[in-house]
Symmetry: D2
Subunit: 292 residues, 4 copies
């Protein structure tokens, strides 16, 4: 681990994230998110933007206004100037979703080089749910406590059995190559990796992974990172929340409907030009409040 000795620097430094450095935030039953390093702050974003706009930035003289302007007009490159490095521990099936974000750097624990620890994810009974009826990729209602307990116990027991086989394969009797011994381990096994990403791409990650359609387990990680980002770059985070995370996008057709409604017309799905599904989404956007 990094030495936590305090040392002086001339670099942009943020006390509120300094206090989080090297301290694991627990997630799920064995996972964590640990801030290992960061580069830049809200002022660094503005500094980069001001190189671009030169005297053209005079009108947005303070940092908050400039950051809001950048976020609103999707001037995303200044946000690339900040970088976050995390140490993450998560189940393999979550890690498989994670690595789909390609604009990031990863160093993952290798089960070819080393033996995996005996740690696997068993969901809490409260999040063991049935297949959603209307959402093809998601969960529906909680199953009965009794059945939830059965599922959890069976997941735990069978993961332990897999690990037992893994140990036997690695043991003296077989001395099997690690890269082979591990192939029957389950997707619930924990892995860990270093992950480095710039703030622009992190915002994109958070938009997708805080979303209600993301799997519960990855959302748990995303929400912890959300809080880290808030304490690191509070102005950018506020702008992100307002203009991205809780923003709503209406299609051209929806905008047409909206204008008719505002003009006093009584628009129904049938005469809206929207499909049933779009109409529902449209209605939901107009009534619901943000949740983050």
């Amino acid at each position: 681990m990094n030495t936590s000795d305090t040392i002086v620097t001339k670099r942009a430094t943020v006390p509120t994230i300094e206090s989080l450095l090297f301290t694991p935030h627990p997630v799920l039953d064995h996972g964590f998110v640990t801030v290992v390093d960061y580069m830049g702050d809200d002022a660094a974003i503005c500094q980069a933007a001001r190189v671009s706009y030169g005297k053209g930035t005079r009108s947005v003289s303070d940092n908050r206004n400039l950051i809001n302007y950048l976020m609103r007009h999707r001037h995303t490159s200044p946000f690339e100037m900040c970088v976050l490095k995390l140490h993450l521990k998560m189940p393999l099936f979550v890690a498989r979703q994670w690595v789909r974000h390609r604009m990031a750097s990863i160093n993952e624990y290798s089960a070819r080089y080393s033996v995996l620890d005996k740690e696997f994810y068993v969901p809490e009974e409260g999040v063991i749910c049935t297949q959603s009826a209307n959402n093809k990729q998601g969960r529906g209602e909680q199953i009965s406590p009794k059945k939830a307990r059965e599922v959890a116990e069976r997941l735990a027991r069978e993961a332990q059995q897999s690990y037992h086989t893994y140990e036997q394969f690695l043991g003296e009797e077989y001395s099997l190559a690690r890269e082979l011994a591990r192939i029957n381990l389950p997707l619930s096994m924990y892995t860990q990796f270093y992950w480095k990403i710039d703030l622009h791409n992190l915002f994109h990650f958070l938009t997708l992974r805080c979303e209600e359609h993301a799997q519960y387990e990855i959302r748990e990680y995303a929400h912890v990172i959300l809080r880290i980002v808030e304490s690191w770059v509070p102005l950018s985070f506020a702008a992100f929340k307002d203009y991205r995370l809780n923003a709503v996008t209406f299609s051209q057709t929806m905008m047409g409907v909206l204008r008719r409604i505002l003009a006093g017309e009584n628009v129904q799905q049938k005469n809206s030009g929207l499909t049933k599904r779009e109409w529902e989404e449209f209605q939901a956007s107009l009534s619901t409040s943000p949740h983050q």
Copy 2:
């Protein structure tokens, strides 16, 4: 599946890869590599290079010379102008290595949306080996046929058990959400995905994944792709083989040693400035022949 009706086009077209389109090449026990689409050919690479060099390409008038020149001098951008699209089926632990190549596009089968097929990888007995003594990430010698059979049978049996649990979780009794039911499935399960990559990045992939330190299972896929590339862009492939795949890189220190040897000096490891490991690699490079 794509219609295989033959249709006319004015695009760059390569008959030798046309004949491979939509036909799965089997890999391992249940995997495959299928060419779904391609863009460009050897001539397209030269065409792009000639836009860059304009009249400056006059001296390398024919395509073979130009491609060799580009490969030798690492002018890599013209190779980005060709694209290959594959449909791949492979075990999850291979797919996890695969997606580390970020400069590619992927659409993978989602176990949140759909039920996984009952297919998992069981290695042939001939490739079930012990942990290598000198290579931390690799396999050593074959284990005894009897033990190999035990390993294979146990892998098969336990994967089947995992799948049985998966089916029960999905069944009427639990109706568990797919995204949860799958978490105890093993890394030997097969997944499938579309993969689109440009030729420059594909060459990089092949350099790393044909290498003897790559895991046997991913090498099996890489070797099939090697043959596909050969039939698609034969001139580029020949250049790649000569200047990249079977090329050898000597460090500055190694070059010093080489020059001393060529000058007649009897250099030993002790007075070479190379570590023992480097000296071995150096000696191996000078004696071995290429294998591809």
Copy 3:
């Protein structure tokens, strides 16, 4: 140049874009956009999506619905499966904006290898405008025809003078290295390059470069490409237009205001929580119609 001989293929082929292949579309005074190659079609996007969603795609059985669904929910990866390759000729100052899009492949004419042609951009008098008063990066009103003519003539004359110096530097008297002789050529000089980009990134490019804040000259190119994309992947293009190009995004605060308005409240800027600039943008979104 590519042979335009017609040949048979089993690949996804689109007659409407085939007919555009190798034919330059003129842009500005000397520029062009030429389709050199393409990979995939609307069906190929659906095919890739169906690999992901497996049986989960049953409910969106036809291609149009599936593509609309993908676009609406920002499932962007299937759009990466289509690729367009263009030959472009444009002024250097436009090319400098163009290359900021990093997720693309480029082979540009090199003024180190070859002599640049005597072609430079002189704007038509109708687009010679004053600095915009309220838009820091844009044009305001047309200047008088007389002054516009003066500007155009001076731009043409001085570019010719620069080129004359360039020729003298390259001539026998100096035989100056090409890489040096070109350094005083103006940003209005034409360059050309091959550009290969996938459809997802192309949509992102078009969103930014068709926008009214983009410089007029790059918009002229973007609009030509818009028409090419429409003839290549009509279903994706229609979805892009509805859900992206002409879509409107409202911030969390704007959504709050919208809900209050719909509830019958008379909201003014002062009690809206929006800045003056945001309020204007909000009002404009509610009243204006799409322009593409």
Copy 4:
């Protein structure tokens, strides 16, 4: 500009690069390289690698050995964990080469938002050379001092004239939009930008831009950055120098020739299987010494 107040941090900190922060290193006649921020150090690379290899790294216990091992075996991902942020000022024709490196973040001064300063590059007389006879992209011999002076004076004079026109266009008489007024400015004009890149990609940049075929002006910047990297991550820099920058790659055919030579055979170009050009490159590699 960033406050240079010294503040405490728990992050990885390198005193030797701290002392370079915010101080411009002059390059060419008006350019500079300024270190604005950095993330990570040699130890951070090892730390990331050790996450990957776990107990598998025991054998390379010290950082120097581990870094050498990573560099030699092209395990490049740990080097992505370090990041450098520079403020750069350079002529436009150099910036055009610079931005071809896509795996970096840029915020460039915008001539649409702001007025460019009156600064342009005029080469020193000693580097004003004729076109190289054997290198299509490079310079040959110095031209006579008298002619060099003529070239330099003409470049300076004509750049000044262009700038004069620019000022008139922007002035009261025309009030031309900035985005138009600048189109006849020469490629020798200075621009400036923030540039953020990870160490792996920076090494790639340096390999290409320190190379003798790179244009003299960009090499001047690359050499300054080389020294910055040396003071930041000395172990990685040493490994980079030995295994990458001054390393030599021999093709499969060259390796065959080398083996024959070492076996005592008298190989000539004619019976080598190498082209004349390759033979020359091969001979040069065996005789020359490194230059960095």
